[in-house]
Symmetry: C2
Subunit: 489 residues, 2 copies
């Protein structure tokens, strides 16, 4: 089921030549997606969808361990619901597709395709929550969602996307804020430990907040072109939605109070982030914990010595499979060289080659996708060795991404002029302007000005900035916040 569509490049464009082109080449050649017949929508092909299934499993497990349960709310949201939280409707209505008719009959009220579900869930919570005994409500939903944005990029920004959205309600601000942080920390932990992507956790500026939130926190990741991807967000919503939807409860003190709510989301854009953080000119590189195939076995050598090689391949395959590894054998007719390239392009972390001489010597050859290194492994110790190797690759991929981020993070820039010089320098060099840690006075004007002058936007105000900045990079007044600036997806 290869995609033979002619619009795919024969070769993958090198990253240094055109990173966007490299990305589009890679995700199509690795068979992760295809364009759908509806504007801005994609098809998640099995190779791409399985990445999502593994991300889902990693997240879902942690959500459940922290007391959350899944539910499902209707996708269609009556127009009047959007009106109940003013900032929310302003934020989302430009991107809303509307159902206006059913089989020829006009609906009395238009129904929006959910861009996010605070409104309809708020409506339901107002029915379900009456007493402090009903709290906290800790619910998550896995669903499709719609945001009809002008510029779309496969996985990163599509008209329809898949995601999870958590929605919780609490007796007080403190508990709701704890929840907001707990979920941000789960995102950080999953993305760092499973996807091998280092992230900065921090607070969004007011201008970059979720529409209707009191505070928005995010995890932000650096792609190999130096741009940022917001990889997950967690919002403290205060009592804003509670007031919009009348979510009140009778507290222990017999007072009727508004609940405090949170919401938090992560989406299929994590697939795109994983591709852009780890991929290289050979194509995809997948972290072992997420890769659908962890080990691919390729028997090599002449036909007349094939039988012994295949028998040994089978033996090793079965021992790896029994050990719980996701392993497959490639027995197609193509040449070994073609297969090596193919599986490197598809990002499989470890390739095992077995030839007649390996059989004689009782060994296999393990090739690492991350370093290209080839290692001779005695067959008797193959299972233990490969398991350890996968852990090492997972860790190495994280460390490499961390080193790349460190190399492209700049903390010495104090003025707009320096920032412009830095960006101009990068454009004349490798094109990677990276991230700049800057002081910011906290004013919307300076934030806007930075964006207009440089194209850099505020990513987040990191909880633990590598250094503190004293003056605003824009106006030169006292800095209130140390903030990451960069281009972003």
């Amino acid at each position: 089921m290869e995609d033979n569509n002619l619009s795919i490049s024969k070769e993958i464009t090198p990253q240094s030549e055109n990173f966007s082109r490299w990305y589009l080449d890679t995700i199509r050649k690795a068979d992760l997606m295809d364009y759908a017949p509806v504007r801005g929508c994609i098809v998640f092909k099995p190779e791409g969808f399985e990445l999502w299934e593994r991300i889902q499993a990693a997240m879902d497990k942690r959500f459940k361990e922290t007391g959350h349960r899944n539910a499902y709310f209707p996708m269609l949201i009556p127009e009047s619901f959007f009106q109940k939280e003013k900032e929310h409707v302003e934020g989302f209505s430009p991107e809303l597709p509307w159902v206006t008719e059913v089989s020829g009959e006009k609906l009395e009220e238009r129904l929006g395709l959910r861009p996010t579900s605070e409104t309809v869930i708020g409506h339901m919570y107002s029915k379900w929550i009456n007493s402090y005994r009903d709290l906290p409500v800790l619910i998550n939903q896995w669903a499709n969602a719609f945001r009809w944005e002008k510029r779309t990029v496969p996985f990163l920004r599509t008209s329809e996307f898949l995601w999870q959205e958590g929605h919780t309600a609490h007796v007080c601000e403190e508990e709701a804020r704890q929840e907001t942080m707990r979920m941000l920390e789960i995102y950080r932990e999953v993305v760092e430990s499973e996807l091998a992507i280092p992230v900065w956790t921090g607070k969004k500026t007011p201008a970059e907040r979720f529409a209707g939130a009191v505070d928005t926190y995010s995890i932000e990741a650096m792609m190999k072109d130096g741009k940022a991807v917001q990889a997950g967000t967690s919002h403290y919503l205060g009592d804003k939605f509670a007031k919009g939807f009348e979510i009140k409860f009778l507290d222990r003190d017999n007072q009727l109070k508004y609940v405090h709510t949170t919401s938090w989301g992560s989406s299929t854009r994590l697939i795109g982030a994983m591709v852009m953080v780890h991929g290289d000119d050979k194509g995809l590189a997948l972290p072992p914990r997420i890769s659908p195939t962890q080990v691919v076995m390729i028997p090599v050598g002449p036909q007349n010595k094939r039988a012994a090689v295949l028998a040994k391949t089978d033996e090793v395959f079965l021992s790896l499979k029994e050990a719980g590894l996701r392993v497959r054998t490639d027995l197609r007719e193509e040449t070994p060289g073609w297969k090596f390239n193919e599986w490197e392009m598809r990002g499989v972390p470890v390739r095992i080659e077995i030839g007649p001489r390996d059989v004689e010597k009782g060994q296999v050859v393990a090739a690492r996708r991350d370093t290209g290194e080839k290692i001779f492994v005695p067959i008797g110790g193959a299972v233990v060795f490969i398991k350890g190797l996968l852990d090492e690759i997972q860790n190495n991929m994280y460390q490499k991404a961390l080193a790349f981020r460190a190399e492209h993070s700049y903390t010495h820039i104090d003025t707009l002029a320096e920032l412009k010089t830095h960006i101009a320098g990068a454009e004349q060099g490798d094109g990677i302007a990276g991230w700049v840690l800057a002081g910011w006075c906290g004013s919307d004007d300076c934030e806007k000005n930075i964006k207009e002058e440089t194209g850099f936007t505020t990513r987040n105000i990191p909880f633990l900035p590598p250094v503190g900045k004293e003056i605003c990079v824009c106006c030169g007044h006292k800095s209130e916040h140390t903030v990451w600036l960069s281009r972003s997806y």
Copy 2:
């Protein structure tokens, strides 16, 4: 997070008084769902959604074991796509909601909310499939879908529902027909072994076929009111969609040929079926393999002897949990009697009571939801005993459902007059007309006539009918098919 909405009956209406009312009372009191603010839509609350998650896991495992992979296709389908298969558009267009505008701007072409995805998937397959080497394509999708039907019943028939839809493409009819049967058999096996619901597998009549199918097969289950639920369908689509969407491949013989496709689906209506097959006047009764909670532990006895009871409860709880059982302890302040009723109503298969005398004697009391029986179990052997008991309950629930079906299946009816008499008799008796095995000449006229005269419709033509029928129940001519007739959801 109880639903305190006043519209829920205080008590569950007895099944014999009003089965529909019993159903609605039960699913709301057991907290499975709530009504959504959009016509015909429901909210799947955590207790209900977890049933779906367990059904999903059981199905998904088997789909993957038989070589299928999951993918995701866009939910919005351009209007022109529906036109490409004539019967398909006629079948589905009366129920389609349409997106006609995005943020105030009218779309050039209306987009339908998927009622099923043969069209958009056919379009993609025509791009992906070129050679016999690309076949078979074995893809499944878990998704939401929309059918705006007039009469809705929670879970069984809702405007938006959750389901899986498998879509496969094959080199020839034989292979596609094998796939159709393989998936029907998976549905049968999951529904019988996991949901403890006996089903009849068989072929739908031409009038009851999926819109655009060559042949539709189904599994049909009998509810406790004698009505049928179609619990899963598998379709052989021939080359109809292949022709509509130009899905062609170059075969080994160098000829360009149309693929043969199948599709198969099962949905959240399985939740409704499970409720209506096993529930009773106490409320839900859940089969142990699907029940979110398999064992609930309730410590009883006076406050002054509480410490020892709680310690023992904890000990048993941990040993059951370690053994992999889904167990919880109810420590709320309510009386034991209230709790017993509550957990019976929620359908938990086994309740364990521990009181001071049980602690002294080194035992617990296990109460079965399916039979009401109470059993004294020595604490040392509790894990082994409870595991065995859950298996026994699972089997007993299946056997009970099988016996109920046998009691309400009638094979002695040969004419329309006899059928009417049978139905009239049931209406004056317990109201359960059940299923009638009838001969059918195969004509649409007789099928229509039976429906108009009796309200009974054809369910399916079972592969292994309990007896063969010689003459058509309607016209008296030679029977071509032995068919199940009943009322249905």
